[in-house]
């Protein structure tokens, strides 16, 4: 009897001693949870059904599906040819969704679909030099199953923040994936001159020893005042950070997979140039670390409407009134998604998965500086004050002449801060070790979350939030942020808000059997992040560790090229996002 008593007492004491974070979660899987999952399954099944139905000779899927007809989205060329296209660089979130769906349902058929599609693509559509036939200017024509160029007959290779799902690609076809990751550098990075080109040639020979050269001195040197000198000698090969992000991500993945540290060293070298070019006072960072040299004649450059980079730095031309700070690298009101969202998500991923810990400090310097100088609440909305990275405000500036950044008499106004900023800020905080380094960023994050209508996440750490459980927000980034906060704190308030957001997403965006941006939007894009976000929520409800789930990194896929305008007459050069995915069911 005595022993039984002691046993009961010990059990009681142990039960109360277990830290909350290690305790088994007692989350009940509710009917509404199933409803959300069911919507995702319906979407996936419909994408697979209609996507495969169009051309049964291939497993490849179109980038987007017309939700009224089930037909693939088509690109209309200037000669009126309509081409349904499969651009697998623009389908990475769908592959992540398929794997995530298998993870939460336990049914492998979804992952098998992803494997089949990638397998066919990697086997048949890898150029002899190693580049895949995908990206900003190429895709597969789903009528002919030939490679389709959108930028003239021989469109270049271009990835901008597409961050492919390499884990799965390596599982599907290791040799092809490794070859691609190496060739991405050979085709885009000029080792002799350290120039980088967002465009890569399909003619560049494959180089198995691509990383064989000695890492050179830094491109960015400092002047006597400690400010970075931005070279203006690039021969039209601008090192945009959105391309560098993809190069670095590939190199880190390559090193991790092959245990060869050299590719990662090159990735660190490349990312360090952006860090060195950042403003030493504000911490704000750059979109590019070089300007182009002038190759056109003074007469050609006297024409403001010439906006290509042959006349040198395009901001120096159009914003010359501001003096030396006016450089393309220093603009902090355009391309900020690439600089402060996609790039930071990659830096944090590299820090987390590949041990590049100082990237967390860089990420914090960049985003904290940006928010400290430029974040403002206007009429209860999150906004950005337009400025250069040294803090020189450009708000209200009226551009005197036309240029690369817009028409004459354009007035610079506040820039909306989209919800995409939630994840890089939150992940930076969560990956920062010391509380004292988190406080400032947490303060901005708290204000931003509140202003987006999610309620108050409370003091540092978010252990005691006062959230708006009835929030009307229907946004996948807000959903993922709440899920990640729940995962960190185990406070169920975050889970409850995440469920509300998830329900809102289904109510507002699930129409005609597909997830669409809005009820009236015609196309359902495979790269949309909503389904992956919903499955991330489903995973935490089921107590599946987030580390076992495919991770959101970007949804930047696009096609850029020549097409026929909606008027049916004028030839245009534009993006799929502007021309195709803006169509409504009434167009």
């Amino acid at each position: 009897m005595k022993k039984i008593m002691i046993l009961i007492l010990c059990s009681l004491i142990m039960l109360y001693s277990i830290p909350k974070s290690y305790a088994q979660t007692n989350i009940i899987y509710a009917e509404s949870d199933y409803d959300r999952l069911h919507a995702v399954i319906q979407h996936v099944e419909n994408v697979l059904k209609y996507g495969h139905e169009y051309n049964e000779e291939t497993k490849l899927l179109p980038d987007a599906i017309n939700t009224l007809t089930g037909e693939p989205a088509k690109w209309t060329f200037p000669n009126r040819a309509q081409v349904p296209y499969a651009n697998l660089a623009n389908q990475q979130n769908f592959f992540r969704t398929l794997v995530a769906l298998s993870n939460v349902t336990g049914d492998t058929k979804y992952k098998d679909e992803a494997v089949d599609i990638l397998s066919e693509f990697m086997e048949n559509y890898q150029s002899p030099n190693g580049l895949f036939e995908w990206g900003g200017h190429r895709a597969i024509n789903l009528d002919t199953l030939d490679v389709q160029s959108f930028e003239g007959p021989n469109g270049p290779h271009e990835l901008k923040n597409m961050m492919p799902y390499y884990e799965l690609m390596l599982e599907v076809n290791e040799e092809a994936t490794l070859k691609f990751m190496r060739q991405l550098w050979t085709a885009h990075f000029y080792f002799e001159t350290t120039d980088m080109n967002r465009h890569g040639s399909y003619s560049t020979a494959y180089d198995v020893n691509v990383f064989g050269q000695t890492i050179p001195d830094d491109v960015i040197q400092m002047d006597q005042q400690g400010n970075p000198i931005i070279p203006a000698d690039s021969p039209g090969l601008l090192p945009f950070v959105n391309s560098a992000t993809d190069l670095a991500y590939a190199a880190f993945t390559l090193s991790d997979y092959t245990f060869d540290p050299i590719p990662a060293d090159w990735a660190k070298y490349l990312m360090r140039q952006y860090n060195l070019a950042s403003n030493p006072i504000t911490g704000m960072t750059v979109y590019q670390f070089k300007s182009t040299q002038v190759t056109k004649t003074p007469a050609e450059c006297a024409v403001p409407s010439y906006t290509n980079s042959g006349c040198g730095d395009r901001v120096a031309r159009q914003f010359r009134d501001f003096g030396p700070i006016a450089r393309e690298s220093n603009v902090a009101w355009k391309n900020t998604q690439a600089v402060y969202v996609d790039n930071i998500l990659m830096l944090l991923e590299a820090a987390d998965k590949y041990g590049v810990e100082h990237f967390v400090d860089w990420a914090r310097d960049y985003i904290e500086g940006y928010l400290e100088y430029a974040y403002i609440r206007i009429d209860g909305r999150n906004k950005i004050i337009p400025m250069f990275i040294d803090g020189t405000v450009t708000y209200g500036y009226i551009v005197p002449e036309v240029g690369y950044f817009g028409p004459s008499k354009m007035r610079l106004d506040y820039v909306d801060m989209p919800t995409t900023y939630l994840l890089p800020i939150l992940r930076t905080i969560l990956q920062t070790k010391e509380d004292e380094d988190r406080i400032k960023l947490w303060g901005y994050f708290r204000d931003i979350v509140y202003t987006f209508g999610l309620g108050d996440i409370g003091e540092l750490g978010g252990a005691s939030p006062n959230l708006d459980l009835d929030t009307s927000i229907d946004d996948p980034f807000a959903l993922m942020a709440m899920v990640e906060l729940y995962d960190y704190t185990k406070n169920e308030s975050y889970l409850n808000v995440a469920r509300t957001i998830g329900n809102n997403i289904v109510n507002e965006k699930f129409h005609r059997g597909f997830f669409v941006q809005d009820e009236i939007m015609l196309y359902s894009r495979l790269d949309q992040p909503d389904t992956l976000a919903l499955l991330t929520l489903d995973a935490v409800i089921r107590d599946i560790p987030l580390s076992n789930m495919p991770f959101y990194l970007a949804d930047s896929g696009y096609i850029h090229g020549y097409l026929l305008s909606d008027d049916g007459v004028v030839e245009d050069r534009n993006y799929s996002q502007n021309i195709i995915y803006t169509k409504t069911i009434y167009d």
Binding site: L12, Y16, R320, G323, I376, G443
Partner: protein, 156 residues
């Protein structure tokens, strides 16, 4: 029998202790409620104190912006990024030059560009404090130069 009574007492005692421990978060919760209200008050102070009233129009005269320094107990402190034009106390002194002189690509002044960018944007950082909690905010004012200002400062 004694052993049984003793055992029962021990269980009751432990049960009491555990129940007492479990009740403690309620006290914490009261504190948290206060903290939550503090944050909402700090937000309210930014939105309703009237500090942003004059950010909607161009300020065309010298004088006091009358920036509120308190709101329902919240202390509000300002720090201007251009103290020559707006002081930390919210006193406006119109500058005697334009903000930006705009010229064409060849650096030649053009009639079209005169007056294009005369008005100065000035950011003021705000710190709001209440019972040990602080948060920051920003205000952006636009100030016109004083009458008779000059505009000969092309930087291009």
């Amino acid at each position: 029998m004694r052993k049984k009574i003793l055992g029962l007492m021990i269980i009751l005692l432990i049960g009491f202790i555990l129940t007492a421990c479990k009740n403690k978060p309620t006290d914490d919760q009261d504190d948290l409620d206060i903290i939550d209200q503090t944050y909402l008050l700090l937000m309210e102070a930014e939105d309703l104190s009237g500090m942003s009233q004059k950010t909607k129009t161009v300020i065309t005269s010298d004088g006091n912006l009358n920036l509120p320094t308190s709101y329902k107990g919240v202390t509000i402190v300002y720090s201007s990024r251009n103290k020559d034009i707006i002081s930390d106390e919210g006193i406006v002194t119109q500058p005697d030059t334009c903000w930006i002189e705009s010229r064409d690509q060849q650096g030649i002044p053009k009639e079209d560009f005169v007056g294009l960018n005369d008005n100065w944007p000035v950011v003021v950082d705000v710190t709001l404090s209440y019972e040990g909690q602080t948060r920051t905010a920003k205000l952006l004012f636009v100030v016109a130069p004083a009458a008779g200002f000059t505009c000969n400062k092309y930087l291009g």
